[in-house]
């Protein structure tokens, strides 16, 4: 399994969009790492998320790679990952933090 942790602001992403994201993230994990995504989904309650000290609209999507990733490959993956998130949610790229971690 490819661990994929998503942190979003409550009320920002509908149940329908979340389902579409889960499908897309699972396909992404299968294509890039050869294993399905094990998705952790955390919603930040209203009044509990801040960016630059102001109420946040940011989402964080963080994947744990099962092998070390070359940087050129990582950049391409992150661009694809952020693009998936932006297209499905309508968020701007400035509202998306993507992370692809190498194994510890």
């Amino acid at each position: 399994m490819t661990t994929c942790n998503c942190i979003v602001q409550a009320g920002q992403i509908s149940g329908e969009t979340q389902a579409a994201l889960r499908t897309r993230l699972d396909k992404f994990a299968q294509a890039k790492f050869g294993s399905p995504a094990e998705i952790g989904w955390v919603e930040i309650a209203p009044g509990s998320g801040y960016t630059a000290s102001k109420p946040s609209t940011s989402s964080i999507v963080s994947l744990a790679a099962n092998k070390p990733v070359e940087q050129s490959e990582r950049i391409a993956m992150l661009e694809e990952l952020c693009d998936i998130w932006s297209r499905e949610t309508g968020c701007s790229l400035d509202e998306i933090v993507g992370v692809i971690n190498d194994p510890a």
Binding site: I44, G49, T51, D94, I96
Partner: protein, 136 residues
């Protein structure tokens, strides 16, 4: 990035306190590292199973870009503990703060790979120029 995620026992930190703590987290991180405030995310959850409290009332996990030295991390840890103590009225020994490094090159924000520490001004200038070009 950085992402400062605080897990607390239910009701231990009020929404009013969260706002003040988030402002302090942002100020402390920027004072210590000279990073821009726009990079700083401060999120709060309650009784989150993925962030065990281990008997504490509050656990703050800060994921920051690699490259900060031990003195900077100690200052961040001490001052953020104090901020939670002050605004949430929790005993200091009931608050745990852990800082974890993440290579900047592993993180994309605003469609660009994050800058290494000290390269933020050039990154912001390039990022803004790219956005302006994209917007015509």
């Amino acid at each position: 990035m950085p992402l400062y995620m605080t897990n607390a026992a239910q009701g231990a930190i009020t929404d009013a306190a969260k706002q003040k703590i988030a402002a302090d987290i942002t100020r402390i991180h920027c004072d210590v590292t000279e990073a821009p405030p726009a990079f700083v995310h401060a999120f709060f959850v309650e009784d989150a199973p993925h962030m065990p409290l281990d008997g504490k009332s509050a656990f703050l996990l800060g994921s920051i870009r690699s490259g900060r030295n031990a003195e900077q991390k100690a200052q961040i840890t001490d001052e953020m503990r104090q901020a939670i103590h002050q605004h949430a009225a929790l005993p200091l020994d009931d608050i745990q703060v852990v800082i974890r490094d993440t290579p900047a090159s592993w993180v994309m924000e605003g469609g660009d790979i994050m800058p290494e520490p000290g390269e933020e001004d050039q990154w912001i200038a390039a990022h803004e120029a790219k956005k302006a070009a994209e917007n015509g």
